[in-house]
């Protein structure tokens, strides 16, 4: 019974933890401009993150090493150093977007200017990182994030033309007033939103935090294979809500209040309250994950003592790094940069940086010195190679498309 509860808790956390500000914004923007014609990308992204998370969880559990230690060992200091700089900066960009997302969600609830909420949000994130146990922070934000199911409920309440939605999703075409360049640009953004590198740093370091062993691999596989696809369905529901409300009116989503508007239209004040709780939980959870990831990457590269299971004084540089990362995020947001814009950039750059973490994990997952008999099977490797090609293509095409479309506008 206890084991079953554990499995259920893990799955629910994976569903709630799947969505972050990147998924919310990108799916809503895509829904409002392209309908469901990019829903296939979410499916590709979800299968990819399942594969990637499962692989990195298994590597962490079996080899008892976290991602960035392995990247350094495998690639040497020069390449791994360049990788660290890229991964750390993109993680910082995502952290900035998440903290901004908390502030925007709190603004929706309170009508108080986001710049007043930003320091409060960052302080709250730091306090939780500083004082709360790893398992508590993971489970609470994951479970509260489940309230985003309200997007799926809202879709039913909106009573859309299901056959038209299915038609958009199953036979995707570029809508008339959009160019193919922006279609592919948003395809990459959606892919990057589903497969953000921080999820992998967090997942593999979290496995070390919770002292996973080979026995826990099966449990993590269930969490990932059940939880993430449900998270993907929620992503598509967000896009569908935006498609139903905004696409016929040619309104382009550019703020958080527009993202939640379909829910408010369908379910009124109560649904709006629920969705705001969900967005605060999802962005708060992701801010914790990215905040911790900034400490994990640095500490693992330089070999510092790290981990939430230690007292802060026993992992001093790790905690100092996270404090500095949070301060930088606050400073960036205080320049009144639009967090939605930061989010859109962060998901594209996530796609750019993805091969840097994917390739070393794939190599180590096939290395018997680390993995013993738990190396990748043939089927996993075949799928992993297909994804290597997709990830490389998305990474190479992202920046040219970003320039060509002027950021998708």
């Amino acid at each position: 019974m206890k084991r079953l509860l554990g499995v259920a808790l893990g799955v629910l956390t994976a569903i709630g933890g799947f969505l972050d500000i990147g998924d919310l914004v990108t799916n809503a923007v895509v829904g409002s401009r392209f309908g469901l014609s990019l829903a296939w990308v979410v499916v590709v992204g979800v299968v990819g993150i399942c594969l990637f998370a499962q692989m990195s969880g298994r590597v962490a559990a079996v080899s008892e090493r976290a991602t960035f230690e392995i990247i350094r060992e495998r690639l040497g200091p020069r390449t791994a150093g360049a990788n660290l700089v890229a991964s750390f900066l993109i993680n910082l960009l995502t952290l900035t977007a998440e903290v901004g997302g908390i502030a925007l969600a709190l603004q929706l609830a309170s009508s108080v200017e986001p710049r007043l909420w930003i320091p409060v949000a960052a302080l709250a994130v730091w306090l939780v990182i500083w004082r709360t146990k790893f398992s508590v922070l993971e489970n609470v934000t994951g479970l509260l994030g489940l309230t985003l199911v309200v997007f799926a409920v809202a879709l039913f309440l909106l009573g859309p033309d299901w056959s038209e939605l299915a038609d958009q999703a199953l036979s995707p075409t570029v809508p008339g007033d959009e160019g193919p360049a922006s279609y592919w640009y948003f395809a990459i953004a959606l892919f990057g939103a589903a497969m953000t590198p921080y999820e992998v740093f967090f997942f593999s370091s979290g496995a070390r935090e919770e002292r996973w062993t080979v026995k826990d691999v099966a449990q993590s596989r269930v969490n990932v294979f059940v939880g993430f696809p449900f998270g993907g369905i929620l992503s598509i529901a967000i896009a569908a809500c935006a498609a139903v409300v905004f696409l016929p009116r040619s309104v382009e989503v550019s703020s958080l209040s527009q993202i939640v508007l379909p829910v408010a239209l369908a379910g009124g004040k109560l649904a709006l309250a629920v969705v705001i709780v969900g967005i605060v939980a999802a962005t708060f959870g992701a801010a914790l994950e990215t905040g911790l990831s900034s400490g994990y990457t640095l500490a693992q590269f330089f070999g510092w003592s790290w981990g939430k299971y230690r007292r802060p004084a026993q992992a001093a540089r790790f905690h100092l790094a996270m404090i500095i990362a949070l301060l930088i995020a606050v400073l960036v947001l205080m320049t009144s940069v639009d967090p939605i814009r930061v989010t859109e950039l962060s998901v594209v750059f996530s796609a750019v940086a993805l091969p840097l973490t994917y390739l070393p994990i794939l190599l180590v997952a096939n290395d018997p010195e680390y993995m013993g008999r738990h190396v990748n099977g043939r089927a996993t490797n075949a799928l992993a190679l297909v994804y290597l090609v997709i990830i490389l293509a998305a990474s190479l095409a992202a920046i040219p498309l970003l320039i060509a479309t002027g950021g998708g506008s």
Binding site: P77, W130, F134, F302, G303, H319, L320
Partner: protein, 146 residues
């Protein structure tokens, strides 16, 4: 510029396998593969540092520049500023090397394990400074998370 040596003029038969030296007793470690960039853990399993470089010394009694195949010993694992010089070239002054003496190494596996506790090691002075001056002074910094 080395003049090309004609195949027929080689001092040994090119198709013959090269003679191997006597196999040393115990486990053979490849410095690049097993030591460089590996995580070191102290006796309590606490991470100490990543091995950024190695300090190699000639056997006692030799002086002057090393020639040819003089065997050298690993004297210490290095960490700290030596990482920058390993990436960009050059070498830091000897006084700025942070050493973990090779005699403190207990085991080499997927991590390098030390037989001593980290708190006695000089390499951890930055960690101790940050702990004593920053993190330890923030309320709750010395308590376990709840």
């Amino acid at each position: 510029m080395s003049p090309r040596v004609r195949r027929s003029a080689l001092p040994h038969d090119p198709s013959a396998t090269l003679p191997l030296g006597p196999r040393p007793a115990g486990r053979v470690l490849d410095a690049r593969l097993h030591l460089l960039d590996r995580q070191t853990l102290d006796a309590d399993e606490v991470p100490v540092a990543t091995v950024d470089d190695l300090e190699l010394v000639p056997p006692a009694g030799t002086s002057g520049p090393l020639v040819g195949d003089t065997p050298v010993h690993v004297a210490a694992l290095l960490s700290g500023p030596v990482l920058a010089t390993r990436v960009f070239g050059g070498r830091p002054p000897a006084s700025r090397l942070h050493r973990i003496l090779w005699r403190h190494v207990a085991d080499v596996g997927t991590t390098v394990r030390l037989g001593v506790r980290g708190q006695d090691l000089d390499v951890l002075w930055v960690e101790r400074w940050v702990r004593d001056h920053v993190i330890g002074r923030i309320p709750g910094g010395r308590h376990a998370p709840e």
